[in-house]
């Protein structure tokens, strides 16, 4: 396959933006117009941060970072500060800066965050000669003193060089500004975030367990259906159950009514001569019974609220009970 080389290069460079170093100083009154396809490496003026050179009996940088707020405690004014540090030999360079202040200055200079490639401190990023002063604005100059880059009045020096930033020092410490640090501090964000995530996980696990329980219930129900050979739908099963319940109720009533007849206080001359049950109707014939005795004979029927029908003949009484 043959590629059009020129076309490919154009495509590649279209997304590759030019990076320009920019010295951000609150006392320099200059608005930089960003060109199309350009990004800035922001170098923070010492006016925008506090720096200390310290030697600590601590081996690792991560241990130093925990101590940073207390190391600056006595010199910082009221505000919401971020801290960082880097190590150079046995010495730690520790920094404190106010994100909000830097962000406001960037906004003031019409520099959008999307136009920024990186942000670093002048300390460590700029390679300046120790014995020279470099002017950064009309009144101040950058000067290296005991390894610390400081801002000093220009009038202190006889000769001040112009600050020309061509290349940044590779070991310059890059920082990420906390745009919302003033709303909530990092620790609170992490705590809230972790708590919310933990809650989500707990609820997620609870959902999983609940769903598993519901599935188990369904499986148990299916087992029940196969164990008791139930019909596939509950409607069918309910209909069958109600038909069996009807049989049970009828059979119970039949036995109750028959028992009432058998317990009837009959005289020696009075005999049950026929008991017939069919089509849910019980027909009993008792000989030699007169109507006057009905109340006495059927007392138990009245107590149990069982309806009956009597027909008196010359030979006795015909009793009919619907079961």
């Amino acid at each position: 396959m043959i590629f059009d080389k020129k076309k490919d290069t154009t495509l590649f460079t279209k997304f590759k933006r030019k990076i320009t170093p920019y010295f951000l100083d609150p006392n320099t009154k200059s608005n930089y117009a960003i060109k199309e396809g350009e990004k800035l490496d922001i170098i923070l003026s010492p006016a925008l941060y506090w720096v200390k050179k310290v030697e600590l009996p601590v081996k690792y940088l991560r241990d130093v970072k925990k101590l940073l707020p207390s190391l600056f405690e006595d010199i910082l004014p009221e505000g919401n500060f971020s801290y960082t540090a880097y190590k150079e030999g046995d010495t730690y360079f520790i920094f404190a800066y106010e994100d909000k202040k830097i962000l406001e200055l960037l906004q003031d200079r019409n520099i959008a965050l999307s136009d920024i490639a990186s942000i670093c401190f002048a300390q460590g990023s700029l390679a300046l000669d120790d014995d020279k002063a470099y002017g950064v604005n009309e009144e101040q100059a950058l000067y290296m003193q005991d390894g610390i880059m400081i801002l000093t009045p220009k009038v202190w020096f006889e000769k001040v060089e112009p600050l020309e930033i061509k290349k940044l020092h590779s070991n310059g410490l890059k920082i990420a500004l906390q745009q919302y640090g003033h709303i909530v501090d990092n620790k609170s964000i992490y705590i809230i975030g972790v708590l919310l995530v933990m809650l989500i996980v707990v609820v997620g696990v609870e959902i999983f367990i609940t769903k598993a329980k519901a599935e188990k219930m369904e499986a148990m129900r299916s087992e029940l259906f196969s164990k008791y050979k139930l019909h596939p739908t509950m409607m069918q099963n309910r209909a069958i159950l109600s038909s069996y319940k009807a049989i049970y109720e009828k059979q119970t009533k039949l036995r109750t009514v028959l028992a009432l007849f058998l317990k009837m206080p009959l005289k020696k001359t009075e005999k049950i001569t026929l008991v017939e049950y069919s089509n849910n109707r019980l027909h009993v014939r008792i000989s030699n019974v007169v109507k006057a005795e009905e109340k006495h004979l059927f007392k138990a029927f009245h107590i149990q609220n069982i309806e009956y029908k009597t027909t008196y003949t010359s030979s006795g009484v015909e009793v009919e009970v619907m079961i």
């Binding site: 965050l113 999307s114 920024i116 490639a117 942000i119 990420a176 500004l177 906390q178 745009q179 919302y180 709303i183 909530v184 964000i189 809230i192 975030g193 919310l196 995530v197 809650l199 989500i200 609820v203 997620g204 609870e206 959902i207 609940t210 769903k211 329980k213 519901a214 219930m217 369904e218 148990m220 129900r221 029940l224 259906f225 164990k227 008791y228 139930l230 509950m234 099963n237 309910r238 069958i240 159950l241 069996y244 319940k245 049989i247 049970y248 059979q251 039949l254 036995r255 028959l258 028992a259 005999k271 049950i272 001569t273 026929l274 008991v275 017939e276 049950y277 069919s278």
Partner: protein
């Protein structure tokens, strides 16, 4: 360099949490329904099983009736039984009161689905009996 507002992340997490709670609530409703369905099915199954065992167990009914009819008081009575697919009919032309008492006592105390019954006094000592039991 553009950063996401932590409040937006918190809001997103909150929305996710609310969604998770909503899902949990539906899962709990689902579980309650499944539990209620299971309980209802279990109750129905046990009731149906019990009633079927009593009224639709052909083998059990047949064996129980055979046991009753083997009684000495009924042996002499020439009991005629006719079995069909749905049940059994029992006929005795002449039965003394002891035999009748014993037979009816066992039938009425047992769980049989009696669909037809006729006991007629033939003489002061004897009665005829016709019965149909369904299974």
């Amino acid at each position: 360099m553009k950063q996401i507002n932590p409040l937006q992340i918190a809001a997103l997490l909150l929305v996710m949490l609310l969604f998770a709670f909503f899902k949990l609530n539906s899962a709990k409703v689902e579980l309650k329904e499944a539990q209620a369905n299971y309980k209802e099915s279990e109750k129905l199954a046990l009731e149906l099983y019990g009633l079927k065992e009593v009224y639709a167990n052909k083998k059990y009914t047949q064996r129980a009736l055979e046991r009753i009819l083997r009684q000495p008081s009924l042996k002499k009575a020439n009991v005629k039984t006719t079995k069909t697919k749905t049940g059994i009919s029992i006929k005795v032309a002449s039965l003394d009161y002891r035999g009748l008492n014993s037979f009816m006592g066992k039938i009425l105390n047992g769980n049989y689905n009696i669909v037809k019954l006729k006991i007629k006094r033939e003489t002061p000592q004897k009665a005829s009996l016709a019965m149909e039991i369904k299974w």
